[in-house]
Symmetry: D2
Subunit: 337 residues, 4 copies
């Protein structure tokens, strides 16, 4: 039985607490959140202890692993201390909004033997993982073009947007990781972005709509389309176009009901509305992967270097929209594993 | 060039006139309809002659073939005279509403060498014909179950219903023919019917909704579902369920447009609304089949015996709803080829 | 917390044990199975006790409710004793293969106040329940035709078939219940059946393929198509055809992956293979319904009378294939609630 | 009746000859092609005259309109002479590969009153035109993102590629026009391209795979994905993502047949294989548009200025892949109407 500490009792923290409750070989021991009421609520539901003192988790030798689901600015500090304390770590994305801080973090933890995993949960979605496995097995021949569609049902509130690090570091970062999941390394990034949705996003200095072009190290082309708002719900699609065949992941509905009437036929229900619904199984599979890796002494994946690499692509996209230039990112590989 | 006479300048007659206009080796020479204005209009559009005298067509040695698209009560008389005059005949279904008259007709024409084809156009629909060919080629293994869905967008008017011969002889007859197209002979019929739609149909002594079970000579099971009204348009589907695979024909839309919005996703346009739209290519292929058969001296299919056999099944379905019994129809094969 | 005893540690028993393990207000206390190894295995996984003595469950006042998932011949005896002992009962279908025994059972338990629920789990499938709710809310206008498709991926082994009570009582009984779920009472049944699949089914005196027509008390028509074998997996569809619109439940896949290649496009993965996968959420919702009913002192649904009524329809279908007649079943309503 | 001359008896010329043959108010009078056998074959099929002398068409006052479907280098010369001779002109795309020649052509014909239409046939596809009309009618709210997928089933041969003007001027030009059809003016272009398919394309100095980003004058974002080869046929999709809803155009099959078997379900047939099949109705509607415009004295659309504008975007995409920069194209509007 693997004992977990959880940092952060918000929306994502609760998802992980739920996954732990269902996992037969893991259990939640302690929950940390400065908002003590939230910490106590999550802890109570799982028979765990709530604490406002991070050291009560970091210093507890009975805790084998931690999940860092607290606000982004706290990630690096917690990750560093937990890894140095020898705990396995599942850290939500992004590691940090600042590449220099990410690299400094790595310098601190590189000599620890701790398993570090970054929470790019989409890699564990059964549909996406299934396509990736089939691509890797050669089913579509050479992968030539990767098309990722990723649109949120509704924009986050202004307060969130202001500290989010911007669309590319906050939202597209999942798509950058997906691109790397399929393409391996990405060597070139171009981006175009716009403000089409809510004035408060522009006022926060951010964009709300974006399209990105990518070139993989093997010459493959990739494109990402993002929007902070989508009228028909959470739009999450991937198309892996290969020389011999194409595999795609479509949107998903809660039921298989269809409606036919005078004004339209074959109408499906709204799509699973947001990441909690759409990626519920992925969150559980992600956690299970970490548990297995710790049990077997293997390095989990995606690891620290993957978290860093996705941030490099986000930075490059930002640079591209500022400069109007294609940005080469090969050679920017940094430390990490 | 094959020269055609057309009996009947109504809705179906115009479809055939249109097919003739497009056929490179056929042309419409004369149009007969007691409604002379209609005959003249159709004739003018095709460079043909209008006539109110059927003999002007039957007796014209320059006319090689005729299409009988006049009201059902006139079919047997025209078919008999044209066949005896040596003309190839495409006669709309049903041959007649009365089996005795059908058999009497056959007695009159059996010695003629005329090619006689009955207008079961669905056999020529590219989707249906494609499935039938693949079934015949063994792609699905043994055909075990055949499911036919056939619903009209809206009921015919009362005047039509009163002389239609009833649902089974007027509408289901197409499905009985389709069943025979897939199953070969049918040996047993059960039916259940109801009045759910319009009072005037019940007042005319007819039913408006029906379900039929069929047993093929090879032991296969078949079912038909019919309605005189369908909220979402013309519902025309076939499922051929085999031991090794299943092939199905779905409904069709005019475009490949889909709509996604807050209240529903993947909404397709309304289906092709009725037989003129849905079976346009089938009507043209049907005519082309007759032209080729005449050119090559072969018997067209479906032939007179097929028209009779579908009527036998319609009669059996009527008997089943009257008696509440399964009706065996093997051994009822009659004359005709 | 509701304490459950479980009779039967086979395939279905394990499904229910799994549902209990996930339910926050229910727990499995004791497992009975003459096969003690199976009972112990299931019990161990849930922290329950295994027993070979049914009375250890029936006589335990700490057990509030039981699930009867043992072989059909034991249902009536266990149901009777548990209900008389005041326990809430979830009994797998069918109550019994013999209507006389079902009625005798009811005579024994009618005066108990025990909640009795019959395991027609499909009523709790989110897609089916969703369509039923929308039909009940009037979304499709009057329901005119109900089309149920139900085919198993592969036939049960000969030993099972011989004691199953036949296709209608064993397999179609789920579809008869679904028909009643949508139509309310059914007043007339016609059936046609065949042996198309495995000789051992015919040798056991059973059929392996069937089509059934139903008439609802409100005049609606219904049809069921069944096969013991389906090349493409578990085929579970429902179409509710109404005057104003149609709602349908389609088959379901584990992922939303599609494949496009030279020989075919838009290929979906195989369907969820059998009832454990397809109806997993339904089994959990079914159990939750019982828990809520017991908590709130309400009668669960479907109840004993529903179990009896589905058996009446199965008997009628058997009679129809023996006699070749439509069988009226109105007025056959029996005891039960 | 409008009398047409046709320049070019190749693949596209024959499509137009076929459309003319079906049009009730147009007829083909003369066919010009240096390959006289081809000219004679097309002419014979339509009752037209074949000629090797372009002046026989240009100088014939009985010819009202011409279709220019000859090789690209001949377009400007023929267009100029025919327009100056007062004939209505339907010129296949591109007007020319060189913008300077296009502008010189305009200088020659600007004072003529001739109707000039450029053959961007996709604007007349019923699905695409339908979506465009619904977008224009406000059905999806503000159009925010336009996603165009356009892949050919197989690359053109080396000889064609060498003189094609490159992927952007030869193939993407259709997508650039579509983008303008939806977005109005495009103000910025970025592109990324690669050689992934056939060495002979790289040897010809061209690319075979490309992705393009576009910014509309209204701030909208657009993306295009192109490939010269697609394993599953001709891939032609459009997605118009709006603030209130999304409309999309999917690929199309010749029939509505689906296959379900052990290894996959819901398999559709291959898509309509190439532009002759996929855009057959569009070619006919395009011609009908020109006929109506001539009859009513209106300017056809897309016109000369549209042909020029698409070429400007192709040039910009070329510049972007050479320089790695986003290219602004506003202010590059040139002469033409």
């Amino acid at each position: 039985m693997l004992h977990f500490g959880l940092f952060g009792a918000g929306r994502i923290g609760r998802v992980h607490a739920g996954s732990l409750a269902q996992h037969p070989r893991a259990e939640l021991t302690a929950v940390h959140d400065p908002a003590q009421a939230a910490a106590r609520e999550v802890a109570a539901r799982c028979g765990a202890t709530a604490t406002a003192d991070a050291d009560a988790i970091i210093g507890d030798p009975g805790i084998d692993a931690v999940i860092i689901a607290s606000p982004t600015p706290t990630h690096v500090g917690l990750l560093t201390r937990c890894a140095r304390a020898g705990k396995a770590v599942l850290c939500e994305k992004p590691i940090d909004l600042d590449l220099a801080r990410v690299d400094a973090c790595w310098a601190e933890i590189r000599d620890s033997r701790a398993a570090v995993m970054i929470g790019f949960n989409r890699r564990f979605d059964p549909s996406i993982a299934g396509v990736r496995d089939r691509v890797a097995a050669g089913e579509i021949g050479r992968l030539e073009q990767l098309v990722i569609t990723s649109r949120d049902p509704a924009p986050a509130p202004a307060a969130y947007i202001r500290t989010s690090g911007g669309l590319f570091r906050d939202m597209t970062i999942h798509d950058f990781d997906l691109a790397r999941f399929f393409l391996g390394e990405v060597v070139e990034v171009q981006a175009m972005a716009a403000n089409l949705i809510e004035p408060y996003i522009a006022e926060a200095g951010d964009v709300d709509s974006a399209m990105v072009l990518l070139r993989g190290a093997g010459g493959e082309l990739g494109q990402i389309v993002n929007s902070r708002r989508c009228s028909f719900g959470y739009d999450q699609r991937v198309e892996a176009f290969g020389a011999a065949a194409t595999l795609s992941v479509g949107n998903q509905t809660a039921t298989s009901v269809r409606h036919c009437g005078p004004s339209g036929t074959e109408t499906a229900p709204p799509y699973l509305n947001f990441f909690l619904e759409r990626y519920g199984p992925a969150y559980r599979a992600e956690l299970d992967h970490l548990v297995r890796c710790v049990e077997q002494g293997q390095a989990p994946s995606p690891g620290f270097a993957d978290g860093r690499a996705a941030l490099v692509l986000a930075d490059a996209a930002d640079e591209s929209i500022r400069t109007g230039r294609a940005v080469r990112v090969s050679g920017r590989a940094g430390p990490g594993r």
